[in-house]
Amino acid sequence: MSASTNTKPLLLLAPSALVVMAPFVASLVILAAYSVDYGPNGVGPDLTIWRNFLSDGYSWSVIATSLRLAASVTLITLLVAYPTACAILRIRNPLLSAIAYVILFSPLLMSVVVRSYGWLLLLADRGFVNSLLAASPFGLGPYRLIYNETGVVIALVHILLPFAVLPIIGALLQIPPIYREAAADLGAGPAAIVWKVTFPLSLPGVIVAAEIVFALAVSAFVTPSVLGGGRVLVLSRLVYENIGNVQWGLAAVQALILLAIAVGALLILERFNRSTFAKRAG
């Protein structure tokens, strides 16, 4: 193999690598520098900020909240997104299909602040949802749906749904119909076809969806702030507050931990992805 066949793809990658990677690496370096630069006058470098943050029980409770929130948002979003993707693919009428996509993307058409305050109104103690529940034959509620994790999860699932539905639709479209025909021919009813063929073959799309949703949920800032009303403390919120308080070193530590969580989740999901399809690749 000549050298040019090896270098060509690298050359082609160079522009995007420059645009994406250069600012990323640079900001990582700056963040790392801030995180070890102790005190307003730059006494460091040492690991004092890291040590202080990680030895504080409060820090860990915030990390736990961030993880719990992101994990439950990811799980619920996938559970809603998968049937949604199946349903959208079943729409034969092109007009209805287009309408379905518009509805699916509608959360993205609105500013995140407006949308969050919208949810605040809907989920308030005397809001639309609680009135509906109270008016129902079971006379339920009222439930506390705002200023706690429940409200944050509901609003995040709403905004992140399109990011999960799209990769799942892509994966489902890639499954040739002949596999479903073969399964039916071998005796599989509609439910067995979904469970034994369609779902396992669509897993790569589900994992991509989980990766995107988790990364976006764990770093979400506006939605947890508005719907949490200051009572749901997540890492991104701490970063914001500490920057406001000119605690840049602490903000850098928290930002790096946030990044580590997102990267860690990505690696775990990718590993799962590979092990699922190791058999396919042989």
């Binding site: 071998l186 599989a188 058999k279």
Partner: protein
């Protein structure tokens, strides 16, 4: 014995386009039956209707005496070997073959025993945990056959399963398929566009053209007594000569075409003076050097030496004839004037396409 599969007046149209037109067919239990025809003739659609992947738009299909109308694919006593195999990429060889048995809640020890048995039959023992993607084309083919056969269907349907393989492997798997079919005494319905393949494997063949079943018969029947122009020319090579019925005597037709004379069995409705088409196989023609300089002799326009035989193209009397001679030391030269002769019963009359006598 009661036939395994009965099609009566089966029709199928897609958006008004008739793909299968009034097919009547009875497939016997334990026979290797092939549906043969060019692409687009409706053979695959017919197979998919038997499998339950398509619903007929007219007529009925019954298997072992049970009408299949309204019986969904997963409850039919058939299994299909797909043209593109459709082995499940997320499952290994064992799980692919066990797929149908597991759905039927077969006990695990029995599944293991039957899968092992099948792997033995298709000679893939030891491949249980291999991924299907790691297998060669021929091995994948065997897994696809095993995955269908292991369910012991009443009828095994095969949709051009050997089409994608190279010729040597095709021939080899043809023999294997035939052996498996004989060993299991299972009814096979095999769809192919390859007449050599159909002739090599089948007990009987149904020849389809433009959605119609033109003729059903044993390979030798189809070759020696083709019912229609289409069957005569699709199976092997032939000369189709248009002529006129000169006389009818003792149940025989005397037909004259381009100054050549043929005798053929009379068919119903034959009348003197009516046009008739005769099929004469190239190997039935004997060539001898023309003795006189008569202007009505045939001339060799082309000769192709094939080793075991020589193929000639003859011209003259407004006709082009193909002739095949075997066991000759040296081919006759191009340009030679020859007389062509054949045995009295060598020719058969054939009907126009679509007017077959298939039952």
């Amino acid at each position: 014995m009661q036939p395994d599969v009965v099609l009566s007046r089966v029709e199928k149209s897609f958006a008004g386009d008739a793909v299968v037109r009034g097919v009547d067919l009875a497939i016997r239990r334990g026979e290797f039956f092939s549906l043969l025809g060019p692409s687009g003739c409706g053979k695959t659609t017919t197979l998919r209707m038997i499998a339950g992947l398509e619903a007929p738009t007219g007529g009925s299909i019954s298997i072992r005496g049970v009408d299949m109308a309204g019986v969904p694919i997963e409850r039919r006593p058939t299994n299909l070997v797909f043209q593109k195999l459709a082995l499940f990429p997320h499952l290994d060889v064992f799980d692919n073959i066990a797929f149908g048995l597991k759905l039927r809640k077969t006990p695990a020890p029995e599944i293991r025993r039957r899968v092992a048995e099948m792997l033995d039959i298709v000679r893939l023992s030891g491949f249980e945990t291999r991924s299907v993607a790691s297998l060669s084309g021929g091995q994948q083919q065997r897994v696809a056959i095993a995955r269908a056969v292991v369910n012991e269907p009443a009828v095994l349907l095969l949709d051009e399963p050997l089409g994608a393989l190279d010729l040597k492997l095709q021939t080899h798997l043809q023999e294997e398929l035939r052996q498996i079919q004989r060993a299991l005494e299972m009814t096979f319905v095999y769809v192919t566009h390859n007449q050599a393949e159909a002739m090599a494997m089948s007990d009987r063949i149904g020849v389809m053209n433009a959605g119609r079943l033109e003729q059903v018969g044993a390979p030798a029947d189809l070759y020696l007594r083709p019912a229609t122009r289409f069957v005569a020319s699709f199976i092997g090579q032939t000369n189709l000569i248009d002529g006129r019925i000169d006389a009818i005597e003792d149940g025989k037709l005397r037909i004259e075409a381009g100054g050549l004379r043929f005798v053929a069995d009379a068919h119903a409705g034959a009348t003197v003076g009516a046009p008739a088409t005769v099929s004469l196989r190239p190997e039935q023609i004997r060539l001898t050097k023309a003795r006189d300089d008569g202007s009505d002799a045939l001339v060799i326009a082309d000769a192709t030496f094939m080793g075991a035989s020589v193929n000639y193209r003859l011209q003259g009397r407004g006709l082009t004839l193909l002739a095949q001679a075997t066991g000759e030391a040296a081919p006759l030269p191009v340009g030679a004037r020859v007389d062509a002769t054949w045995l009295p019963d060598a020719a058969v009359t054939v009907a126009a396409d679509g007017a077959g006598t298939a039952k």
